[in-house]
C-alpha cells in the first residue's frame, strides 16, 4: 500500500527534474555566424544500426576518408570539412527527422545522402523543400528518378538497369555462331537485384537471344534446389542471376550440385563480395559480375583513394566505401565550381553546375541527366584463376573476357 501512496510524489519529482534539465539544456549551441575560417559542416544521416548497418558503416568510412584526405590537402575553398553524422536506425521516419534537424536547426552548409533507396527518397524530399543540393551514394532503383527531384544526383556510374550494358553490347557484337542462343534468368523480388537482370534481359531479347527460364524468387528464399533444377533442365547457354548475396551464393552452389555447366554465368553483387570465393569453395571459374567500383580501376584519383583509405582504416575500400567517397568528390567539385558552400542561393548554383558538367571520380567520370540519373554503365569483372579481374569495357580492362567459360 505504501508504494501506492508514494507514487504520485515520485512522479511529480521526476517531472520537475525533467523540466529543470530541459530548461538548462535549451540555451546551448545557438547562432552560427558564417566566416571564411569556419569549417564547412556536412550533414549526413546514415543507417548505423538496424537492417542496413553493414553497408551504412561502409558508406560512413567512405565519407570519413573523403573528409580526412581533403582536409589533409588544405580543405575546400581553404575551409576544413567537418562531418555531422546522425544514426537513422535504417528507419524512413527517422531519416526525415534527421535531415530536418541537420538543415533547419543545425544549419549545416551541405547535406549528402544516406544509404538505400528506401531512405534516399524521403530524405531527398526534405532536401528539395529546403532547396539543398542532394548528392547520394546509394539509391539506384528507378523510383528514385521518378519523383521529379531536381536537386538529386546519384554518385555512381549507373542505375541497376544499366549495370550490364557493356556485357550486352559485347555479346550482341559476337558473330552469329558464337552468340549465346538461350539464357535463363533468376532474380530476387527486389527492385535493385531484379533491375540488373531485367536490364540485361531486355537488351539481349531485343538482340534476338531467347529467354528459356525466367524465375523470380522472394528475398527470404533459402532453398534454391528447385530453381536450379528448372534452369539445369532447360540447358541454356547462359545463366543470369539478379542476386544480392546469400541468394546468389546458394543458387550457384545449387547449380553446381546439379552439374550444370553454362557457357557464361553472370550474377550481380555476390561475386564481388570478399567472402564469395570462400563461400562457394573456390569454384568461381569464369563467373561474371558488374561492379561499380574496383580497387584496380585505372582512374586517376582511385590510386590515391585506395592508398590513403588503406592507411586510415587498415583495409582496402569496397564498393560502399567508394560510393561514400565518390559522393564527397562530386560535392567537392560543385563547391569549387560555385566558389561557395552555404545554404541559400549557393545551393542552386551547385545544382546547375552539376547538371551541366562532368566530374572525375574514383569510379570514373560521372555525368547526369535532368532526373539525376548517372549516364554510365558498370564495369564487368570476371573470375579468372583465383582472382576477379576487370574484363569490360575495353579501355579499363585488366584481362580478356573468357568465353565460353571453363567448367566450375
Amino acid at each position: 500500500m505504501r508504494s501506492l501512496v508514494r507514487a504520485p510524489w515520485a512522479l511529480a519529482l521526476g517531472a520537475s527534474v525533467t523540466l529543470v534539465l530541459a530548461a538548462c539544456g535549451g540555451g546551448g549551441d545557438e547562432g552560427s555566424g558564417e566566416s571564411s575560417d569556419d569549417p564547412i559542416v556536412v550533414g549526413i544521416s546514415l543507417p548505423l544500426t538496424g537492417d542496413f548497418s553493414e553497408p551504412g558503416k561502409g558508406v560512413q568510412e567512405g565519407y570519413e576518408a573523403w573528409a580526412k584526405i581533403t582536409n589533409d590537402k588544405g580543405g575546400l575553398l581553404g575551409r576544413q570539412i567537418e562531418l555531422k553524422i546522425l544514426d537513422d536506425q535504417s528507419n524512413a521516419d527517422r531519416v526525415v527527422a534527421d535531415y530536418e534537424q541537420l538543415i533547419g536547426s543545425d544549419q549545416v552548409d551541405l547535406v549528402v545522402g544516406p544509404f538505400s533507396t528506401r531512405l534516399v527518397v524521403p530524405s531527398a524530399r526534405v532536401a528539395q523543400e529546403y532547396g539543398m543540393l542532394f548528392v547520394e551514394p546509394a539509391g539506384a532503383a528507378a523510383e528514385v528518378f521518378d519523383q521529379g527531384f531536381k536537386n538529386l544526383f546519384y554518385a555512381a556510374p549507373a542505375v541497376a538497369d544499366d549495370h550490364y550494358n557493356h556485357l550486352a553490347e559485347h555479346l550482341l557484337a559476337l558473330p552469329a555462331g558464337q552468340k549465346p542462343a538461350t539464357v535463363a534468368y533468376a532474380a530476387m523480388d527486389d527492385p535493385f537485384a531484379q533491375g540488373t537482370a531485367y536490364g540485361l534481359k531486355k537488351k539481349l531479347e531485343a538482340g534476338g537471344v531467347k529467354t528459356v527460364v525466367d524465375e523470380v524468387y522472394p528475398p527470404n528464399t533459402t532453398d534454391f534446389g528447385s530453381i536450379a533444377a528448372k534452369i539445369a533442365a532447360a540447358k541454356p547457354d547462359m545463366v543470369v542471376g539478379g542476386s544480392q548475396y546469400q541468394d546468389g551464393v546458394n543458387l550457384i552452389v545449387a547449380l553446381q550440385q546439379l552439374n550444370y555447366q553454362p557457357k557464361l554465368a553472370a550474377f550481380s553483387t555476390a561475386p564481388t563480395s570478399p567472402e564469395f570465393a570462400k563461400a562457394i569453395g573456390n569454384k568461381t571459374e569464369g563467373i561474371l559480375s558488374p561492379t561499380g567500383y574496383s580497387q584496380d580501376a585505372p582512374y586517376p584519383s582511385n590510386k590515391e583513394f585506395v592508398e590513403k583509405f588503406t592507411a586510415q582504416f587498415g583495409k582496402a575500400p569496397e564498393e560502399d566505401q567508394a560510393n561514400g567517397y565518390t559522393t564527397g568528390q562530386v560535392v567537392a567539385a560543385a563547391v569549387q565550381a560555385a566558389g561557395c558552400a552555404e545554404q541559400g542561393a549557393c545551393q542552386q548554383k551547385m545544382i546547375d553546375w552539376l547538371h551541366a558538367n562532368k566530374v572525375e571520380t574514383v569510379v570514373g567520370p560521372l555525368s547526369w541527366d535532368a532526373t539525376g540519373k548517372p549516364q554510365g554503365a558498370h564495369m564487368i569483372q570476371q573470375w579468372v584463376g583465383n582472382d576477379i579481374r576487370i574484363v569490360l569495357p575495353a579501355d579499363a580492362k585488366e584481362t580478356d573476357l573468357v568465353y565460353p567459360k571453363p567448367a566450375w
Partner: protein, 295 residues
C-alpha cells in the same frame, strides 16, 4: 510441360527437403506435446547450432558434423534448464500464450548475441564435398543434401525408438497424453517434462548442423524458418512426431513440385494454404495427435 527428367529431379529434391523439414520441426512438436509450449525460439536455436557448426569448421578445421559431439549434449542441458528455470514457472492457465512471449524474447536474445559474436556477415561452411553429387534415375543427388536427409532419418528413427521402446519414452508419452494420470501412476512428470524439453532442443542441435551444410547463414535467418515449421506441426497434428514427419515430407515435396508451374513466390504459400485448410477442416491435424482438439 515439364520434362520427365525435371519431374524426377524435383521429386528427389522435394523428398530431401522434406526430410530436412521433418528434422527441423520434430522438436517444435515435442515441446507442444509435452508442455503446450509454443517455442518461437526453436528456429533461433537451429541457427545457433548452425553457427557453432560453421565455427567448428572454420576455426578448428574439422568436419562440421563433429560439432554435434558438443552441441547435442549442450543443447539438451540448455533445454532442461530452460524448462525447469523458466517455462515451468509460468501459470498453467496462460502457459501457451506466455510461452510465445518468453520464447520470442529468447529468439531475439539469441539473434542479438549471434550478431554480436559473429557480426551480420553471411556465412557458409566450405566443404570439400559441398557440390559433389551422383546420378540417380537420371537426376542428380547432392551429397550434402543426402547427409542432411540421413541425419534427419537417423535422429527421427532414434526419437521414435526412444518414445516407443524405453521407460523414459513411455513416461514422456504418458506425460504428453494425460499429465494427471501419469502423476497418479508414479511418473515424476516435472522431471520427465524437463528431459523431454531437452530432447526437443537436442534435435535442434542436429537440425541446425544439417542445415548449415547447405545454407548460407546469418543471425536473422531464423525468422524465415519459424513460419513454415509452425505450419508443418499444425498440419501434422500438434504433439505428434510421426505426424510432423509425414506433413514435412508431403509439404516439402509439394513445394518442390509446385515450383515448376508456379514459381518460387507462390510455391512457398503451400505451407500457409495447408495451415488454413487444416484449421478449417481438421484442426487436430491430419496425421495423428488428438491433442489439438482440447484447445
Amino acid at each position: 510441360m515439364p520434362s520427365g527428367a525435371l519431374l524426377v529431379q524435383s521429386i528427389i529434391l522435394g523428398l530431401l527437403l522434406g526430410g530436412l523439414y521433418a528434422l527441423l520441426a520434430a522438436g517444435l512438436t515435442l515441446y507442444f506435446g509435452i508442455m503446450r509450449v509454443v517455442m518461437i525460439a526453436h528456429s533461433a536455436f537451429l541457427i545457433l547450432a548452425a553457427y557453432l557448426a560453421w565455427w567448428t569448421n572454420s576455426r578448428l578445421g574439422v568436419d562440421p558434423l563433429l560439432s554435434m559431439v558438443v552441441t547435442v549434449p549442450l543443447f539438451f542441458g540448455a533445454g532442461v534448464l530452460l524448462q525447469r528455470g523458466l517455462l515451468s514457472r509460468l501459470r498453467p492457465a496462460t502457459l501457451t500464450m506466455m510461452s510465445v512471449l518468453i520464447t520470442f524474447a529468447i529468439a531475439l536474445i539469441i539473434e542479438g548475441l549471434l550478431g554480436y559474436a559473429f557480426s551480420g556477415t553471411q556465412r557458409r561452411i566450405q566443404l570439400g564435398y559441398g557440390t559433389a553429387g551422383f546420378e540417380l534415375f537420371g537426376a542428380r543427388v547432392a551429397v550434402v543434401k543426402l547427409i542432411a536427409f540421413a541425419l534427419a532419418a537417423v535422429s527421427l528413427a532414434g526419437l521414435y525408438v526412444l518414445m516407443k521402446r524405453t521407460q523414459f519414452g513411455w513416461a514422456l508419452r504418458a506425460t504428453i497424453q494425460h499429465r494427471d494420470a501419469a502423476r497418479l501412476v508414479g511418473i515424476d512428470t516435472e522431471r520427465t517434462a524437463g528431459f523431454g524439453f531437452g530432447l526437443g532442443l537436442a534435435t535442434a542441435a542436429v537440425g541446425g548442423t544439417a542445415l548449415s551444410l547447405d545454407t548460407t547463414i546469418y543471425p536473422s535467418l531464423h525468422w524465415h524458418w519459424i513460419g513454415p515449421l509452425m505450419a508443418i506441426i499444425v498440419v501434422g497434428g500438434l504433439g505428434s512426431v510421426p505426424g510432423a514427419a509425414a506433413a514435412a515430407l508431403l509439404l516439402g515435396l509439394a513445394q518442390s513440385l509446385l515450383q515448376i508451374p508456379m514459381g518460387a513466390t507462390w510455391a512457398q504459400t503451400v505451407f500457409y494454404v495447408a495451415l488454413f485448410a487444416t484449421l478449417a477442416v481438421r484442426p487436430q491435424g491430419f496425421f495423428g495427435g488428438r491433442l489439438a482438439q482440447r484447445f
